[in-house]
Subunit: 712 residues, 2 copies
């Protein structure tokens, strides 16, 4: 990748001497950024372009370059690309737009470009992109206007417009970049490639990304999980709502995966997700300047009550905590401050605070062992010597050696103070909330980095048995599996089901019920009916022989009436759930980008009406399975409230892990749902299940897309 980011020679194909033409902007950008290597220009008319003798075509140039930048009309791009390959080019940026994003011709051309690049081992950035900037090496291979300051933050973006806006904005606020990359259509190099490269880039401490869709979700997760253990990866994904996803798919020509899958992928690979562009940069500032805090406890020092309250609110809304100070801290503050100042957290120095009181308060609070990080709020007033306060805070901070953030309310006359903070590496925010949110992200990242390694459990089960059932179903052309097939698969995967048997008459139903013991459940048994509730085909809590017999005839007669063409095998008679057991739903569906997306929730209303569902991607670690269970709002109902027994949470995670194995083992299964799973205090029974399979091309069969090795 060095040929792309730090090339020893660059050729601009489509260089131009006409100002404001893309081929001119790129060339002048390269030159004005102080590029040290050889520069070549190619233009059909030749001549002198920006002081460089241009070649008329690539073959006239006739030599190999590290990096070629193509900015010529679309229909000529593939031909030029081929010629460049012949010269032995190592990396190519295609600036030109009009490919996959516009029409089918463009799509075919892009596929050809990708094929050529991959088969020749050439790095291809774009097409339809702005190029890239490497501040450390003085490379500006883009048609963006303006050179960013050097810095330790890397930024990549799928959207060119956002690149321009962000660059512009960052120059304004003085945020520097190590690398700045416009990904465009991501024909070859995508967010995963960037994560891999930037993860190893010594100039980059923090990685920021903006994406609209993730093409290869599994590879993205693999790279993100690796890189985020080394440095923070902060990303914004657009197209999170249905409206946004529609707009995204018409823009990028790609159908975005579900936002739940993307959210799960970010969570499981340690990516810090933000919802707003400004937050992306608030976090970048925090992570690039300060060390991670050792805990959530924040000490606040302010000279004004209002902003202190806003900071406290921000703590209340996040995972940050405002601890009670140690008695000695409170004593020290009481001795130094006037009687009416607040010596509790937040410490309020009041309006007559000066540099000296700031310095002393920061030292006292900062040395308190209960405090993990600090926020210093400064509300300017005409009598406050801002510069003096900044100097006092900075020298106190140097002693404290804990993460410190500053909130400077108001921008006027604060230039000197801001410079003092900047040179001491103290991030400065305009509003308390921004600072607290940034700290909260750092704390959560620290927790994530320090978590124990994930453990994967491989349960025993009969995969071959399940394979036989699925093959049989596929041979018979079924997509929705029949009850007994599903049951066989559930059993093959080592999951218990309630005892049950098929009754073909009312009398048989009674006999089975008597064997199982009352009360029982009756369910319609028909290969043609996959949603039993459509025909009202379930009766629960049948207590007597008479009730069972009546229910049998009622269910079968009603089904016959509603679905005259359905084959009715009879009714399944099933053991009732033990009293105190609760119903949960465990399922998965296959996301196009990220693979099997597992879901968990409480049965009935909780999943269907309240949408109280947690999601994770397979393969599931034991810890992630536990997180899924604890994450739902109704978790308290499983733990047992108001005298209810707690249910067997271990048994639930076991079902989740086995479901995850099933999803990974059989790419043929498009979606599956165990609903309900009856969980009591000592077991989890799969009482009913649905499973949909699809025929796969031979090449994919048997190659489950992910294993734990891949992700660890």
């Amino acid at each position: 990748m060095d040929s792309l980011f730090a090339p020893s020679s660059i050729a601009v194909i489509g260089a131009s001497s006409v100002p404001d033409k893309i081929g001119n902007t790129i060339l002048t950008n390269i030159i004005s950024a102080g590029y040290k290597g050889r520069i070549y220009a190619v233009n059909p008319r030749g001549g002198n372009i920006c002081g460089i003798d241009a070649f008329k075509n690539i073959s006239e140039m006739g030599r190999s370059v590290d990096l070629a930048i193509i900015a010529i009309p679309r229909d000529a791009v593939v031909e030029s690309f081929r010629e460049l390959l012949e010269t032995g080019v190592k990396s190519v940026i295609v600036i030109t737009a009009g490919f996959k994003e516009v029409d089918q011709d463009g799509w075919l051309l892009e596929v050809e470009l990708a094929r050529l690049a991959e088969s020749n081992g050439v790095n291809l950035l774009g097409p339809n992109c702005l190029g890239l900037i490497n501040s450390a090496s003085g490379v500006n291979a883009s048609f963006a206007t303006g050179n960013p300051l050097p810095g330790s933050t890397a930024f990549f973006s799928q959207s060119g417009a956002l690149c321009v806006a962000v660059l512009d904005w960052a120059i304004g606020v003085g945020l520097g970049f190590s690398k700045f990359i416009s990904l465009g259509n991501k024909a070859v190099l995508d967010e995963a490639s960037m994560l891999e490269y930037l993860g190893n880039d010594p100039d980059t401490k923090v990685i920021l990304g903006y994406v609209e869709n993730v093409e290869d979700g599994r590879n993205f997760m693999k790279q993100a999980a690796r890189v985020s253990m080394k440095k923070p990866v902060i990303m914004m994904k657009a197209g999170t709502t249905a409206a946004g996803a529609r707009a995204a798919s018409s823009h990028t020509g790609a159908i975005a995966g579900s936002d739940q899958a993307c959210d799960a992928a970010f969570k499981q690979s340690g990516v810090i997700r933000v919802e707003r562009l400004d937050e992306l940069f608030n976090l970048a500032k925090a992570f690039s300047l300060q060390e991670l805090p050792l805990g959530p406890n924040l000490g606040i020092v302010t000279n004004a009550g209002g902003p202190g309250i806003l900071a406290a609110d921000a703590c209340g809304e996040s995972g940050m905590r405002m601890p009670t100070f140690s008695p000695s801290t409170i004593g020290d503050l009481q001795r130094m401050l006037p009687g009416y100042a607040s010596v509790y957290n937040p410490v309020d120095l009041l309006g007559d605070a000066d540099a000296d009181s700031y310095g002393r308060a920061v030292r006292i609070v900062g040395h308190d062992p209960v405090v993990n990080s600090m926020l210093i709020i400064i509300a300017p007033s005409s009598r406050l010597d801002l510069k003096g306060v900044a100097q006092a805070v900075v020298s106190a901070v140097a002693e404290v050696k804990k993460p410190v953030f500053c909130c400077l309310m108001g921008r006027k006359d604060s230039e000197e103070a801001r410079e003092i903070f900047a040179s001491a590496g103290v991030p400065v925010y305009d509003f308390p909330k921004q600072a607290v949110r940034a700290m909260d992200s750092m704390h959560r990242y620290a927790v994530w980095k320090g978590r124990p390694p994930r453990t994967y459990r491989t349960p025993q089960y009969d995969m071959d048995g399940a394979r036989e059932v699925i093959d049989a179903a596929l041979r018979s052309g079924r997509s929705d599996l029949v009850e007994f097939q599903v049951r066989d698969i559930v059993t093959a995967y080592g999951l218990p089901t309630p005892e049950s048997d098929l009754a073909r008459s009312g009398d048989e139903a009674v006999k089975i019920a008597e064997q199982l013991g009352f009360p029982v459940v009756l369910k319609i048994a028909s290969p043609d009916i996959s949603h039993k509730s459509d025909v009202d085909g379930v009766r629960v809590g049948l207590n007597t022989a008479a009730e069972v017999k009546a229910a049998f005839w009622e269910i079968t007669a009603q089904t016959q009436r509603l679905r005259p063409d359905a084959y009715i095998a009879g009714c399944l008679v099933q053991q009732m759930a033990s009293p105190g057991s609760r119903e949960v739903v465990i399922g998965f569906r296959r996301d196009d980008q990220f693979g099997p997306l597992l879901m968990f929730g409480l049965g009935g209303v909780y999943v269907e009406i309240l949408k109280d569902i947690s999601f994770r991607l397979a393969p599931l670690s034991v810890e992630e399975a536990g997180d899924m269970v604890r994450e739902i709002r109704s978790y308290m109902l499983l733990k047992g409230v108001k005298g209810g027994e707690p249910v067997d949470l271990e048994a639930i995670t076991d079902v989740l892990i086995r479901m995850s194995c099933l999803a990974d083992d059989f790419p043929e299964i498009y979606e599956a749902e165990f609903n309900p799973v009856l969980v009591s205090s000592d077991e989890a029974l799969v009482a009913d299940a649905r499973l949909t399979v699809v025929e796969l091309p031979e090449s994919i069969r048997g190659a489950g897309p992910g294993t734990e090795d891949e992700l660890e």
Copy 2:
């Protein structure tokens, strides 16, 4: 109030010639803002201060002024205030701090100031404030640094530090103010007084406020409801979380009311609530520049896909909609745009858009009758003539006559374009989300303003009967009312309860059960037990005489064992809820600032675990009662899902309204809870209830704090 905001004469008590002293800053602010009236200065040392011959004391000044500003040490303030009253002063601003917010002495001094001001009919702003600025009249009676631009937005704030920061920030972004007011400790003039004054101020189109607590919630609601029908009132309240409320109470010395009560007050009086300071100003810009939209339908025109997706996401997260354009609009767009541009909403003009295509697209989309408002997104690039685009958009907008917002991504080289938009009154935002959120607020405000008038229903009930029960309870020294007392009050308020009777033995229980009809519920009856579940004192679904008898002895024996000192009257035998009925909880508790806060939710888990509760303040209109029911997440369960019968929603709102009457009629009732209320398809029965009363001073008794007249 004119003597405060547009005084014909001002005296500064504590004027100083020493730069950076508050008394100096105030005087120079008055002079430099170009004040046209008479200015007097008072300072014990006399002399010439800023060109004014200072009096040595107030009696030497010896004449009446419209406005006096006091900036002298705390302990001298009351004396000076008295002297000013003798001269016949009309309004006073006390800048001096050190009152209620610091200690008891300060608190007493502040009470004395308030008493003097109120008994003499003098407007008192502060103490502990920055003063005020009236841009229209050239009055800067504050010690803030910097004069804001004139504008049509008024701002008031409880926190002085936020005043400084906001003023500073507003000057930076060019936002102007009509009035700028620092409220400080609000000894007399508070947010309600400001709403009343600003509501009638012809210079003010939009009112912004920042508060930490609202002292007199009822008066605030009254003023806010009146004013918000005339102009938008946008407020931020700090101290929303428990952590923030703790910080606020230590700062302002006042216990903040609950955030739910404040939120309900804002909702019921049409106040637009924001969570972030920057949003306050994003909304001010929108409301002050544009007319309200006639509906939620937003048409978006962009030259870049990424920002278009972000805008669509923001619509998806808010109440804004992106309609499908009319066929003729789509046809017109297709004719003017290249084939690969998106002619659907958002319209993507693509990177090669120019002034002409922007102008034409804005006209076409803007004239579509399905579109209520528009967002124009402009992503700059080196080839885009920003100024030309701005001119084209502005002239198209002038034809369209619908609310139009602009998002200009990036600030560089956009000065001219920004000025063109500013002079045409088109608000410009940096990011799409800000613009969409502002539009959503305008739309919601328009809906609120246009809603039909609220209707209040006064049901028939026996208030005297309830009065007797409550008086009896108070005489006996009880705070938690006994079951039969609560039942009498419920009945007096016209609410049905399930049929029931007291059984003193198992046999009596069986007899009553046979009269009521099986199944029945048994509940422990004891005046000493208000939480029956503490002694497991309820049995439901008893189907036979044997079950009833067994339950009677079980419940009473167990209660005797657990609470040997409790007097056990026996068991209440109650009719069972009809099948298909659902349990809801309806209650209220009295908020210190806002009065009775009504709550509604589904029984059991929904209220207790999921906290799925809606809140409103009494008195409740019919519409607000309906909103409470519809607002909970589990509302679908009442409407009936999956074959369940819908319940009688009218009956629920009737209980809510009667509960609201009860709360308003009896200030002695501190809190009440009807739990459960059993709602079936044709009635709502109050099956159990709890009620807590407190002895009130004679002066308050019988004066229910609010009636519908007060709020309408």
